[in-house]
Structure formats: C-alpha cells, structure tokens
C-alpha cells in the first residue's frame, strides 16, 4: 500500500529526469541520509542512556546501600566502603522495639490477601451487574457511581477514620481490610469495559441451554475475562503494599507490631533513628520492591491496554 503510493507520487519525476542523473542523485541523497541517520541514532541512543542513568540512580543507590556495612547514611560516598549482608540478617532475625520487618511483612501480606479477594469479588460482581444484566435504574446507578468516584478518597479519609473509630476498627487489621476493600465496588470501569466487548450471543447460548445467571457468571464469563481478572487481582493485591496515607491514618497507635511495611519503613527513618537504620531501610525497601516490581511488570501490559482502550472509546 505504502510503496504503491510512493510510486504514484514519484512517477512524474521519473518521466522527466534521465535515468543516469537520477541514479547519481539518489545515491548522493541516500549517502547523506545514512550519515544523518547514523548521527541521529547515536544522539538518540546517547540521550536515552543519559536519561536512563538519571532514572536509575536512586534505584541503584537503594541496591548498593542495602549492602552497606555503615548503618547510617553516607554523606560522601555513593557506593558503600565495605559490603555486607548484615542488613538483611538484621531486618529478618533481629527485631527491636521499632524494627519488626517480619511482622510488617506478614501484616501487609494478610491485609493484601483478604482485601484482594474481597475487592476482586466486588468489582467482578458490580461489573457483571452493570455490563451483562439489564434492570431499571441501571443507568442511574452508573451515573451516580461516576459522580461518587469524583470525590477523591484522600478527602473523605478523615470521615472514614471517624466511622472506623466509632465501630472500634482503628489500629486493627480487619479495619485496614475494610478500608481497602469495602468501597472497591466503585472501581468497576475497566473490568466492565472489558466485559462490554464480549458478545451477548455467548450468554444467550448458555441461557438457551438452561443455565441460570450464576452459572453464566462462573462458567461462561469468568473464563472469557481471564486476562482482565488477572489484572484486577494483581492491582488490588498491590494496593495495600503501596498505600501510605490510609495506613498512616488508621494505624496510629505507635505499636510497631501493628504496622504495615509502608508505615514501618517510614517510621524507621525517624530523625533520631535514621543514623542507625538507613541501610536496613534500604534492605527492607529492596526486599519488598522485588516481588512488587515483578507483579507490576506483569500488570503493566494490561494497564496500558486498559487505559488506552478506555480513552479511545471516549
């Protein structure tokens, strides 16, 4: 297609110019172009190298400091003077009054597993109801949920805190699970968008064969929605690991055993503690970053697809 167009466009030139001149001219032009392309390529790859270095410096610092024998921050050296594995040993096997990394990891894991299960279930339920069933008031509910979604979670957090406090769920992991998962039904847009693309005929066929909606939900829709379900599971599993603000607000008792990883790592670097804990902080940060990065990279593909498909659909 493209070549054809080019030929048509260039055909008048072919007719007017003599063949010999044209060959020389083309050669010279392609020589110049090649050189220009080469310079451009070197420039672009060089620029990318510089940018990548800038973007990776903090990550590199995290990695090397995690192996540093100096427990505090080094003010003069980027790479540690002496290398050691003691920081990893310390965060796992030598808990103190503040540093309880194993506990934090366990707490976050439990919270993440439960809230992931609940929010994934909620989101799938709401998406199916809004995408695959028709009932009076459906449009109204969708519109209402959109307006509700405009209210940023950070703003209502104090009121959420009050409500949790009045039912005695602050400083408790059940409370954290409720905070992360109860309102998750509002985040149905991406999954619903995916379900909308699945042809109605699939469900109709199942219905003709006598399946009820529950069976259609589990046996027809779930297998078809597998990729988006994976995306949803990973992203709701990751939320508690990277949440900072709600954990900070809800787990305010100062008992380090109750904290999640995010709060624990933040509090480890209190002004008075930073000179003892900085390398241990890096070790802890590195350890939780590894699984999260892997999950993130898996999720990334779906993330881009969902965002772009959502925006092109308008």
């Amino acid at each position: 297609m493209m070549d054809e167009n080019k030929n048509i466009a260039e055909s008048p030139a072919k007719e007017t110019s003599s063949k010999g001149i044209r060959v020389v001219y083309e050669n010279r032009r392609s020589m110049g172009k090649k050189q220009k392309n080469l310079i451009g390529s070197i420039f672009k790859n060089g620029l990318l190298t510089v940018l990548t270095v800038i973007w990776l410096i903090p990550i590199l610092w995290l990695v090397v400091t995690a192996f540093s024998a100096n427990p505090g921050i080094s003010y003069t050296r980027f790479f540690p003077e002496r290398w050691t594995l003691a920081n990893f040993k310390r965060i796992f096997f030598a808990p103190d009054s503040v540093l309880q990394y194993g506990r934090w990891f366990w707490n976050t894991l439990v919270i993440a597993i439960f809230s992931c299960a609940i929010s994934t279930a909620f989101i799938l339920m709401v998406s199916y109801a809004f995408s695959c069933t028709r009932f009076p008031g459906r449009q109204g509910m969708i519109r209402f949920s959109m307006i509700l979604g405009m209210f940023p979670g950070v703003l209502s957090m104090i009121a959420v805190y009050f409500i949790m406090k009045s039912i005695g769920l602050t400083n408790s992991h059940i409370g954290m699970i409720v905070v992360y998962s109860a309102g998750s039904g509002l985040g149905y847009l991406i999954v619903k968008g995916f379900m909308d693309t699945i042809p109605v005929s699939m469900r109709e066929a199942a219905r003709l064969e006598g399946a009820n909606e529950l069976q259609i939900f589990f046996k027809v829709m779930m297998p078809l929605c597998k990729p988006i379900v994976v995306y949803q599971i990973i992203s709701s599993f990751l939320a508690p690991w990277s949440d900072f603000v709600f954990a900070r607000l809800m787990l305010n008792s100062g008992i380090s055993k109750d904290w999640t990883v995010a709060i624990g790592l933040y509090n480890m670097l209190d002004k008075t503690l930073i000179h003892n804990n900085f390398s241990a902080f890096c070790a802890g940060g590195l350890i939780i970053s590894l699984p999260i990065s892997v999950l993130f990279v898996i999720m990334q593909k779906y993330y881009v697809e969902s965002v772009t498909s959502g925006s092109t659909k308008g």
């Binding site: 392309n37 009045s166 607000l249 933040y266 670097l269 881009v304 092109t312």
Partner: protein, 488 residues
C-alpha cells in the same frame, strides 16, 4: 460520541420524568389497590399474605418490625439530641462508698453526630423500600387479577439467580460503598458546620453546630492569630501551580520520551522501556524517602555539589545566601517547590510514557502517510498530526490527571514531612507550610492538630474545585467535537 452526548442531554428530562413516575406510581398503587394492597400501607407484608405468598409476607413484615424497633431503640435517642449534639458534659466524681471513680451519663457529641447520620440514612432507605414495596404489592395484585401466575417463595428465590441476579450481585458492594464513600462524605459535610477541634474533643467535652463560622474563618484573616484566610490563599495558589506544572511536565515529558523510544534508529526500544518501568515499579514510599535523603542538606548531592564548586558558583550568582554552605534542596521555599516539581517528573514521566506509547501505537497511520505524500516533513507530521491526535485521545485523561495532582498526597507528604519547616509565622499559626497542598494541609490538621472542623471545610472546598474544574473542562473539551476525526 456525538450521539452519546445527545442521549445525555435527553437524560436530564428523562431523570426528572423517572423521578415523577416514582411517586405517581406509588400514588396509583395506593389508589387502585384492593383491601390487601391498601393494608400493606400499615402492615407491609399484608398484600403478599392476601396473595398466599406467606413466607414473603412474613419476611417483609419482619423487616418492617425490625426497622421500627431499631428506630425506637437506636435512632430516637441519637436523633433527639441531633439538634444540639448533646448537652450533658462528662463529669467524674469520686464515690467514697465504692472507692471508685464514677462518670455521669454524659453525651458524646461525636457519637450523636455519626449515629444520627446513620439513622437518617436508614430512614431514607426505609422510605424508599416502603414505596418500592407498595408498588410490588400492587404488581402482584394486578397479576392475580389478570389470572397470571403468582410466584411462590421458591420461585422468588430462584429469580435471585435469574431475573433478579443484579440484586444478588449489587447488595454487598453497595453496602460497602455506602459505608466507605457515602456516609463519610455526609459526616464530613456535617462536621464542617460544627466546632469539632482540639478544644472540643469528645468524650471529655462537647461540640455543637456553628453554622457557616468555619467557612467564614477560611475566607477571612484577622491579625496574626487567625490566619486561615492567609494560609488558604497561599496553599491554594501553590496547589494550583503545582497541579498545572505536575500535569503538563509529566504529560509532555511522557510523550517526548515515548516518541524518542519509538523513533527510528533507537536500538532495543523494549529494553529502554523496561528500564524506565523499573524506576516506577519500586513503591513510591521507598523511592521518595530515598530521594529526599539523597537531597538532604548534609546529603550526598550536597557533598558532590560542594566538591564540584556548584555551591560556590550559586553563591556567587546570588541564588544562595552568603552564609549558606549547602544547597537547601528541600528545606527552603522556592528551592523546595522547584525540586518537588522536578522530582515529580522523575516519578510520573515513565507512567505517561507507557500510556503515550499505547496511544501512539493506535495513531492514525493513514493520515501520517497521506501527509508524507503531500510532502510534509517529519517534524510537521509530529506537530500537526501526532500531537493533536494525542491531545484529543488523552484530553480526558489529562483532566483526571490534573484532579489527581490536586490531591497528590504521596509525593508532597513523603518529600517534605519532617523535613520542611516554614519560617512564615502566619502560615505556621494555621499549621500550613509553603509546600503544602490542600490535602496535605488537611491531613496535618487532622492527624497532628485534631482540627477536624477546618479540615472538613478544606475537604469540601477541594471537592468543589475538583468538580467544577472537571465539569467545565469536560464540556469545553467535548464541545470541540473533534473525536469524529479519529473514529473509524
């Protein structure tokens, strides 16, 4: 898109009509109902019982009874004090007989407020259910009169997995949303009209309604002590400046990076993309805390700058005070504001790069081709075709990004909390800093100073700003009606 818009315009009237029908249906159910149906006005299950739907009738009546019981035992005690939010202050006295401290039967304003809101909410839900029930009873009556089949209880249950599956699906998530989204918003709005703060903390003391006092306080300044108006102006303007810069630097940076990685002559585009993704895959609270220690006053960057003579150079050109021997990257105003925006580029550009890559892959190739044939240079193609395309596709996302940046708690809090201290006494009196966004200010007021009333007012203001901005820009964006150019 245009069709959809028309639909939306129509929906305003539609919603109004639906609202009207909601009540007229109820009216006709009451008017045309027979004895059984009319009896449901009093005993909600009566209509079902008259139609021999025994179990359903009993269940519905039980719900009614339970609600009335809950209203009498739970709602009434709280709602009766809702007007004053409590009058009896907590007092402790020593009882010489039992040798124990006894506390009087005091009012807890906060519990009164929150449970009253829950009671009011339950009341609304019950009224809606009541109206719905009347209609359902009338429906059953009509069916019975027409000689149609009347469902047995077993059939009703089966419907919950069939025709009424949406009810089964939506019940639990709706309860969750009510608890986590709707009730908190109602409570937040209510607190904005009270004097709930550190000197009015239940249970030790009471708080009460103060009308619009808090809103007045936010918009007025009086001397050195009442500085909320002053602080609000400062914080709001920095919030907006930040949101504009953060949104556009990330947006443009992301597009440029995506175009650069996708452009001809770049080897291994996938590898470059993955390297940038690594930077954002590490959780923000790790990277941001790391970066803030990187730029400490006595940190490694400052050591390098001093050794390289940059610190002296900045002193010479007057960007640094003469008595400073370090660069206050995150500790002095101006410097900190610029640094935050720069660090945010580091945080946000890879995300935007990923999205822009996805958008570029769907770019209208045929338009690019025809432009090439017409003799457009590649920079012309980029500016005249690629960029407008990205803007149209990404426009709505740009709006959500702007709103998200207004509420970008993580970046600001993790970079400046415990690091930045303000020197402006008037700001400090209101517990604000030059680098605060409205949300971080709100958070500090809540979490450190227990000034709930002002925090609620700020929350409401932020919400209004976000909604107005979203609505105005959406209508502007959609009014252009340029989406069709790219729809195939």
């Amino acid at each position: 898109m245009r069709i959809e818009r028309r639909k939306k315009k129509g929906s305003g009237g539609e919603a109004l009509r639906g609202f009207k029908n909601y009540f007229t249906d109820f009216g006709s159910a009451v008017k045309n109902g027979d004895l059984g149906t009319k009896a449901s006005l009093l005993v909600m299950g009566a209509g079902f019982l008259a139609r021999k739907q025994i179990i359903k009738g009993i269940l519905v009546t039980l719900v009614e009874l339970m609600y009335f019981l809950a209203f009498a035992l739970y709602s009434v005690p709280y709602l009766s004090k809702f007007g004053t939010l409590g009058t009896v202050k907590m007092e402790q006295s020593f009882d010489p007989i039992t040798m124990q401290q006894t506390t009087n039967d005091y009012d807890n304003s906060f519990l009164i407020l929150i449970h009253s809101m829950i009671s009011l909410f339950l009341l609304v839900v019950f009224v809606m259910y009541y109206i719905h029930n009347m209609k359902a009873v009338y429906e059953v009556q009509k069916n019975a009169q027409a000689g149609k089949h009347v469902n047995s209880f077993r059939e009703d249950l089966r419907d919950m997995l069939g025709k009424k599956f949406h009810v089964t699906l939506l019940t639990l998530p709706s309860i969750g949303v009510v608890m986590m989204n709707i009730l908190p918003i109602l409570v937040l709005v209510a607190i904005a009209f009270t004097n709930y703060d550190q000197s009015h903390m239940p249970p030790a003391s009471l708080f009460t309604w103060v009308g619009f006092e808090n809103f007045k306080a936010l918009f007025s300044s009086g001397g050195m002590t009442i500085t909320f108006g002053y602080a609000f102006g400062k914080v709001l303007s920095w919030t907006l400046i930040w949101a504009v810069f953060a949104t556009f630097t990330n947006f443009i940076g992301g597009i440029l990076l995506a175009v650069l990685i996708n452009s001809k002559g770049v080897k291994f585009p996938k590898m470059w993309r993955s390297l940038f993704v690594v930077a954002i895959a590490v959780p923000q609270f790790v990277t941001l805390i790391l970066v803030r220690n990187f730029f400490r006053d006595d940190g490694i960057v400052n050591t390098l700058c001093a050794n390289a003579g940059i610190t002296d150079f900045l002193k010479n050109i007057g960007l640094l005070g003469a008595n400073m021997n370090y660069i206050p990257f995150l500790t002095s105003k101006g410097w900190a504001n610029v640094m935050i925006i720069l660090i945010n580029i580091w945080v946000g550009v890879p995300y935007q790069m990923l999205i822009a890559t996805g958008v570029l892959m769907n770019a209208p190739l045929d338009q690019v081709e025809s432009a090439r044939i017409d003799g457009a240079s590649s920079s012309q193609v980029f500016w005249k075709i690629t960029i407008p395309y990205i803007l149209v596709v990404q426009g709505p996302a740009l709006i959500t990004d702007f709103v998200r940046n207004i509420n970008n708690f993580n970046v600001i809090y993790l970079l400046t909390q415990d690091v930045y201290t303000t020197t402006d006494q008037m700001l400090a009196n209101s517990n604000a800093k030059e680098v605060d966004l409205l949300v971080t200010w709100l958070f500090r007021l809540t979490n450190e100073y227990y000034n709930y009333k002002m925090a609620s007012v700020i929350g409401i203001i932020v919400f209004i700003i976000c909604v107005v901005f979203t609505l105005v820009s959406y209508s502007r964006l959609m009014a252009g009606g340029r989406e069709e150019d790219y729809q195939i």
